[in-house]
Amino acid sequence: MPTEGINSPVTPTPPSGSFSGGEAARGTGETVVAVRNLTRKFGHFTAVDRLNFTIQRGEIIGFLGPNGAGKTTTIKMLTGLLRPSSGEVTILGFDLRREIRQIKKHIGYMSQKFSLYPLLTARENVEFFAGISGLPPARIKQVKQELATLIPPALLRLQVADLPPGIRQKVALFTCLLTDPEIIFLDEPTSGVDPELRRNFWSLIYGLKTRGKTLLVSTHNLDEAEYADRLLIIHQGKIILEGPPEELLQRTGASNMEELFKQAIISHETP
């Protein structure tokens, strides 16, 4: 049931810091994504510079950084949408270069623009994505019914271009989960959405985590950082700080995320 997580949190429960505490909550210890020296250059500009990190099964990774830090470039490389200039990526044991087809079966991706067809209705979008993912017709019918419980019936007939951003975001996440992926890459899923919807969205993400999904969520909103199990802070193409949010706060003595972030950037720019 790939879609139940998106339905279940009816009441918006802003996740507290306690979510990110404890090893158990952080992951099972099984490495599902391993990135070694991942680099991407555009001409002379190095957008992503020798990234190294791993992701454990069941983790929520907060991929944090200012605009232009290389978040989207990294996610696009991890999903096979952009060719790395160098470096290696292994996802679920498959090599990204050679076994992208295998990888595709297990990953979900939602871009910051929500990637829906603006001229189609939410229902048509869902049907389309389910169809091209090879879901059987009976299942497609089922997911369309699930969608109807997710968004107000009046909006079902509207073209996506006319939907409010919060609904569009929900539909996009719903389509992203149609294939029940194990690892989900969300590229700035909360950009352009108001704070309350953002909190709602994070409770959806927690719902997914409880079902054993692994998520990498990029954002430039610092207030979202503490929702993650572990943070990867990226700046100018490099990872400048990595670790669980409260641990990072402790380690650096920063009083909040904003301060932590500023410190990290300053110490990176003045070695």
Binding site: K76, T79, G80, L81, L82, R83, R101, K104, K105, I107, Y109, S111, K113, S115, L116, Y117, P118, L119, L120, E124, E127, F128, F129, A130, G131, I132, S133, G134, Q159, T175
Partner: protein
């Protein structure tokens, strides 16, 4: 099955854009009707100024014939000389016809048939009809009129055709003169015109325009189809899905092919009913040719879509390709006129083959035996573009 959903989505997207539906189905119909009437190579109503300085009845009768011919539109009839240069500059007329009496000309030697300058005002004398069209009566007691045709050669093609019309009028007049005297020209050409005996250009243009119709919308639609997905970033989702490049190709091109076929059918209906052009060949063959053509043109469109990053680029590329295809298609000008340096471009132009095949099927009733080679070439062009697309697919979408 995955293809079905791609197909459905593509069709839905086209029909969600109301302006697009109008552009796709109403515009082509109007276009066929308009172009059928407008793009004509036979010319009518040529604006003519006539200057008649001659006092002979022959000149008078010829003026009369020209005035009453539907081919000419006499804009002015003058009895004194005109500044024809000025007339052409103003575009007042395309031709000036001057009738003179030979002895009145200052340099009679320049005119043809200078042999008989003799004047005199007696009755019509017998002509032997062997002189050129410029002199009407070689030896006569009447003032011997000569006719001078001045053409505005800026539009060379029309000027040539119009000159031919004048010669025709004069020749017929001469023949009638001879016939009055129980004589005839010693050599009388017998022309037998097949397939389009009335030489009506609609019969030639109409079917050709159907080919054009099939090209414009399908190529442009395919060219922007993939680019639009790049722009709205939905292409990422297609690429992350399990769709193969071939499936994406088919999903993008098949709906356009269907739309193209519907448009072609509409075009054919117009050609058959409105232009009253008889379809001599097989309708089935026409559609087979259209399918082969669609494969090639849609592959080209898909290739354009791959190499373009924005819809503007795609439109520019398709427009450029379209004009090239059109100019080298033989639709408007015969391909034989194209210099041999560019003949290879003609050879790989799928539109050229479709125009040829459609005309052959419509006008000559030709079967496969006459144009199977053209089909093969179109198919090869299609396959080459198709494989180029597939080869470049990964590289151009995953940068």
């Amino acid at each position: 099955m995955r293809l079905f959903y791609l197909f459905k989505k593509e069709i839905l997207e086209v029909f969600r854009q109301k302006e697009m539906v109008a552009v796709l189905f109403i515009a082509p119909l109007l276009q066929t009707i308009l172009l059928g009437y407008v793009v004509r190579t036979d010319i009518q109503n040529i604006p003519v100024e006539i200057v008649n300085l001659s006092s002979s009845p022959d000149a008078f009768r010829l003026v009369n014939r020209i005035t009453h011919s539907p081919l000419f539109q006499v804009t002015g009839l003058h009895r004194r000389p005109l500044d024809y240069q000025e007339i052409f500059k103003k575009g007042q007329a395309k031709a000036v016809i001057v009738f003179r009496d030979e002895e009145m000309t200052t340099a009679p030697g320049r005119l043809k048939g200078a042999s008989g300058l003799a004047g005199g005002k007696e009755g019509p004398a017998s002509g032997n009809g062997e002189s050129g069209a410029a002199t009407l009566r070689p030896a006569s007691l009447l003032p011997r009129p000569s006719v001078q045709i001045l053409m505005d050669g800026a539009d060379a093609n029309s000027a040539m055709i119009a000159t031919g019309y004048f010669y025709g009028v004069i020749k017929r007049y001469l023949e009638d003169l001879l016939a009055d005297q129980g004589q005839q020209l010693p050599l009388q050409p017998q022309t037998l015109i097949r397939f389009n005996p009335s030489l009506n250009s609609i019969h030639y243009m109409g079917p050709g325009i159907v080919a054009l119709l099939l090209t414009i919308t399908t190529m442009f639609l395919t060219a922007i189809a993939l680019v639009r997905e790049k722009e709205q970033q939905t292409l990422d989702t297609l690429l992350i899905s399990r769709l193969t490049p071939v499936e994406i190709f088919l999903g993008k091109t098949l709906p356009m092919a269907l739309i193209g076929l519907v448009e072609m059918t509409l075009g054919i209906v117009v050609v058959l009913l409105l232009f009253r052009i008889h379809l001599r060949g097989s309708l089935g063959l026409l559609f087979i040719a259209a399918l082969v053509f669609l494969f090639s043109i849609l592959s080209v469109g898909f290739l354009i879509s791959l190499i373009s990053q924005t819809q503007q680029q795609a439109l520019f590329f398709s427009w450029f390709t379209m004009v090239l295809f059109l100019m080298l298609s033989g639709l408007l000008t015969p391909v034989e006129n194209i210099p041999s340096v560019f003949q290879w471009l003609v050879e790989i132009n799928p539109l050229r083959y479709l125009v040829k095949i459609i005309r052959e099927i419509f006008l000559k009733g030709n079967g496969l035996a006459y144009f199977w080679k053209d089909l093969v070439v179109m198919g090869v062009v299609g396959f080459v573009s198709f494989f180029l697309s597939l080869l470049n697919f990964r590289r151009s979408v995953v940068r």
